[in-house]
């Protein structure tokens, strides 16, 4: 799974979540907008976190060196 595929998964999950919230608790346009904002923010945060960790491991400058005792 490459970077783009997982990013796409995040995108799809975000869209599904927004749709779910839109369908499950539809409380007028202003509340829906708030819910959408919350979900977009949450998705972006989660994606950023994942992307940072993934990117940092793509081309490792250092590799795991096991401890002597093991």
């Amino acid at each position: 799974m490459g970077f783009l595929v997982t990013t796409l998964i995040f995108l799809v999950v975000g869209i599904i979540a927004s749709l779910c919230v839109r369908i499950c608790c539809n409380r007028g346009p202003s509340a829906n907008l708030l819910h959408l904002t919350l979900i977009i923010t949450a998705t972006v945060c989660c994606w950023m976190m994942w992307a940072i960790v993934y990117l940092s491991q793509m081309k490792p400058l250092i590799v795991p060196i096991l401890n002597e005792t093991e």
Partner: protein, 817 residues
């Protein structure tokens, strides 16, 4: 990040505080009370005090408030009495016997008088009962003294007599015979009996001895059970004493000492027959008193029971009435004394509800005249009112604790709902701990209804109030824990196999050169192969440090973008052109560039030293980069970015004050021209102008802008550095949890002993709960709080508004308890 609020979208909940209006109500005096009561039920209007210059005693309804205060005092008295009697007031009674205030006042007065009388009587009875109990004790104990003394004296006498009958020895005192034989010369000893508190008895004895120079005989007997003291009504451990003395002076002294020691004295008769008669008499009276007291208690209990049934209702009524009169006192009375004029803030959406309430009040009070509802135009800053629900209110409180939003400015609370728990979780990433936290908070959420109704302790109350915050914190912690691949610091190969393998089948140089990456990158989170290796810390440090900077730059950018939406909303184009744009350029040309470099470095696997690049970007921007070059044309880009950053500082500082000055002088010219519109708007406009422009002082504006610019430029550096706390705390958390796991749990496991293992598990659980789940949660919470209050909110948030406090009966409950 997701932002909105453009003209095309509907207004977002919680983003801006509710639009407010200043309304004027003119209410006929006969329906005023009812109208205010209905408005209190509605709870959507904040009355302004129109009589601020009057003292509480000069106001129209001062007498009624005093009456309500008196009734509240009576109710408090009843509550005290009930809690003493162990009768909790019944929950809201079902019988709706809504009495009027006057009836209630009479009723409360009667009940109070009755209760006070009953109390006084029963107190009197109780006192005499206690006295009798003590008296009885004295009679019994002192009787024993006298009896034993008498028998021993008789024995003595007999012995003496037998001695006499025998031969007179040399030792026989010559005088004793005469003394014994001559009854007229016998000294009549007096005595006093009574009870003294046991803890004072030693001192009592000593003082008696000294005061009478030893010419006293004190006998004490311990009373086994504590006695109720008639004076204080408390249970005290006491001793019965008998003091023998001789002479009137000694008697006086002893009486005084008894008084000083709180020793109750009781008359005692030497005669045995009389003693038994007294005891019988006292016992009879005791049982008589007992029945009387019991009857009194039953009567009192019944009275309190009837009070308790309706107590809550009365209490509510009195408090409501008091609040209503308090509000009525804030209204100004018309010259004709026929109507009251109220002014107050209310949300625009509540207009219809308020009008309905007023109409209802007019109808119900059979008033001839309808109340008048009028919207006033004002330049005053309206209060800030966010309609929160049980989920969002805790987050809004986090923001409000820093400062209440200015009227209608962008509310950081919207983003705080997600970013606060997220930044918390970055510092608290461990999905084991996250699950523990989630279970804890789910308990609160599931039992929400029950816990809401009961009173909790201080800390519990706070945790309960923030239950949804903690829930989101826990959920994000589980997510970041999966990313960090830590479950109580143990990694799992959940998503794929580790990307790293040994270089050769024998794995010989795995401890010197290390493993090699042979497969695709681990798809989700940190590769489990890192755990416990020698290079784990350098790798995680580098990763988390860079992550902190990336997240920080993203959040600060969000903050600056929110300032753009604020400027757009308030139609302040100066702030867009001379604050928002240079700020964006400044931050992103330095730290945005750093973020880009970090990502490029990761993607290309370059060996470039980013510190070196950033430092020499300032020191010698024209030098060749050499091996630190990450992309072609980097030198030129850096020079351009540096120039942009340098330009944006004066851009932020200079134009805005000058343009404001220009605007001001142009406005002044305009205000002399005739204004179109009605008188009212003219007046309002003039008012506004005088407010806005009289105080314009260029130097002040300039200094303000200077401070703002310096704060931003320095803040860009220090705030970015401040985000490194994300790295530090997450490092501390993972190190601590791995220490507890390895040094406690694994060590105990190694002993192969059940008892040691159990102890190890207990210590591990205590350390995990105490240190990681409680203290670390607290510290990560505080750091996330700081990142929001300072680093995020100082980019756009003014926070100088004031909160909307509506007059509402629903809020009354909280205030007084």
């Amino acid at each position: 990040m997701g932002e909105s609020g453009r003209g095309c979208c509907p207004p977002m909940d919680l983003m801006r505080s509710e639009p407010m209006q200043l309304v004027q109500l003119i209410i006929p005096i006969e329906s005023a009370h009812l109208a205010v009561s209905y408005l209190g039920d509605l709870g959507l209007i904040q009355f302004k005090d129109l009589n601020a210059e009057k003292s509480p005693f000069q106001r129209t309804y001062a007498i009624q408030i005093k009456r309500c205060g008196e009734m509240a005092r009576k109710l408090r008295f009843f509550r005290d009495q009930m809690s003493k009697a162990g009768l909790p007031p019944a929950a809201r009674s079902v019988t709706p016997s809504l009495t009027s205030l006057d009836d209630l006042e009479v009723k409360l007065g009667d009940l109070e008088a009755e209760l006070v009388e009953i109390n006084a009587n029963s107190e009197k009875l109780q006192r005499s009962y206690n006295e009798l109990v003590e008296y009885k004790l004295v009679l019994e104990k002192a009787g024993e003294f006298f009896y034993s003394a008498r028998s021993s004296a008789e024995a003595h006498q007999r012995e003496y007599a037998s001695n006499l009958s025998g031969e007179e020895s040399l030792e026989t005192p010559l005088l004793s015979e005469q003394a014994a034989m001559d009854p007229s010369k016998q000294v009549k000893l007096g005595f006093i009996t009574g009870l003294v508190p046991r803890d004072k008895s030693m001192a009592f004895e000593r003082i008696l001895f000294r005061a009478t120079r030893g010419n006293v005989l004190l006998k004490q007997a311990v009373v086994d059970e504590p006695v109720i003291d008639p004076v204080s009504g408390e249970k005290v451990e006491k001793n019965v004493f008998v003091v023998f003395f001789s002479g009137e002076r000694a008697k006086n002294k002893i009486l005084k000492i008894c008084e000083a020691f709180g020793a109750n004295r009781y008359a005692f008769n030497e005669d045995l027959g009389k003693q038994s008669q007294m005891i019988n008499e006292v016992s009879g009276r005791l049982s008589e008193l007992k029945t009387t007291i019991d009857a009194g208690l039953v009567h009192r209990g019944n009275l309190l029971q009837t009070i308790g049934e309706q107590f809550e209702q009365w209490n509510l009524l009195v408090r409501k009435e008091k609040a209503i009169y308090h509000t009525l006192n804030m209204l100004s009375i018309d010259v004709s004394k026929k109507c009251l004029v109220a002014e107050g803030w209310s949300p625009v959406f509540a207009t219809k509800q308020i009008q309905d309430a007023l109409h209802q009040a007019t109808h119900d009070s059979n008033s001839q005249v309808d109340a008048i509802f009028r919207v006033l135009h004002t330049r005053e800053m309206p209060p800030t009112y966010f309609q929160t629900n049980k989920f969002t209110s805790a987050f809004q409180e986090i923001v409000d604790a820093y400062g209440v939003a200015k009227y209608q400015e962008a509310n950081p609370g919207v983003y705080t709902i997600v970013t606060f728990p997220f930044l918390f979780a970055v510092m608290f990433g461990d999905w084991g701990h996250g699950i523990c936290l989630l279970l804890g908070t789910l308990y609160f959420i599931i039992r929400e209804k029950k816990l809401l109704s009961q009173k909790l302790g201080d800390i519990m109350e706070m945790t309960f109030g923030g239950r949804y915050v903690i829930m989101l914190m826990a959920l994000f912690s589980i997510y970041t824990g999966l990313i960090y691949n830590e479950f109580f610091s143990v990694p799992f190969e959940l998503f794929a196999r580790s990307a790293y393998v040994c270089r050769d089948p024998a794995c010989r140089d795995s401890t010197s050169v290390g493993l090699i990456k042979a497969r695709d990158t681990y798809p989700f989170g940190v590769d489990p192969a890192w755990h416990g290796t020698r290079s784990e810390l350098p790798f995680l440090n580098s990763l988390k440090m860079k992550m902190s900077i990336l997240l920080g730059v993203a959040q600060m950018n969000l903050g600056i973008i929110l300032s753009f939406f604020n400027a757009l909303f308030f139609k302040n184009s100066l702030n867009i052109w001379f604050q928002f744009i240079p700020q964006m350029i400044f931050l992103n040309s330095l730290f945005g560039y750093l973020s880009v470099l970090i990502i490029i470095k990761w993607c290309t696997g370059s060996q470039a030293d980013l510190y070196h690049v950033m430092i020499y970007m300032f020191l010698s921007p024209t030098d060749e980069l050499g091996e630190n070059q990450l992309f072609p044309g980097q030198k030129l880009t850096q020079i351009v970015l540096l120039l942009l950053a340098l330009v944006s500082v004066p851009w932020m500082l200079l134009p805005k004050p000058f343009l404001l000055k220009l605007q001001h002088s142009r406005h002044q010219g305009e205000s002399y021209a005739p204004l179109p519109g009605t008188d009212e708007s003219l007046q309002a406009e003039a008012n506004h102008d005088s407010h806005d422009h009289e105080e314009f002082e260029f130097s002040e504006v300039f200094v303000h802008q200077l401070i703002h610019t310096i704060e931003f430029v320095l803040g860009a550096v220090s705030n970015t550095a401040s985000y490194l706390r994300l790295w530090a705390l997450s490092l501390a958390h993972s190190e601590l949890s791995s220490v507890f796991y390895e040094k406690v749990l694994l060590l105990a496991w190694g002993f192969n002993n059940v008892i040691i293992l159990i102890i190890g598990i207990i210590v591990f659980i205590c350390a995990t709960v105490g240190v990681l789940l409680v203290m670390e949660t607290l510290s990560a919470f505080l750091h996330a709080l700081r990142l929001h209050w300072v680093e995020f909110q100082n980019k756009f948030y003014e926070g100088d508004g004031y909160k909307f406090y509506p007059f509402s009966f629903a809020l009354l409950d909280y205030e007084e308890e």
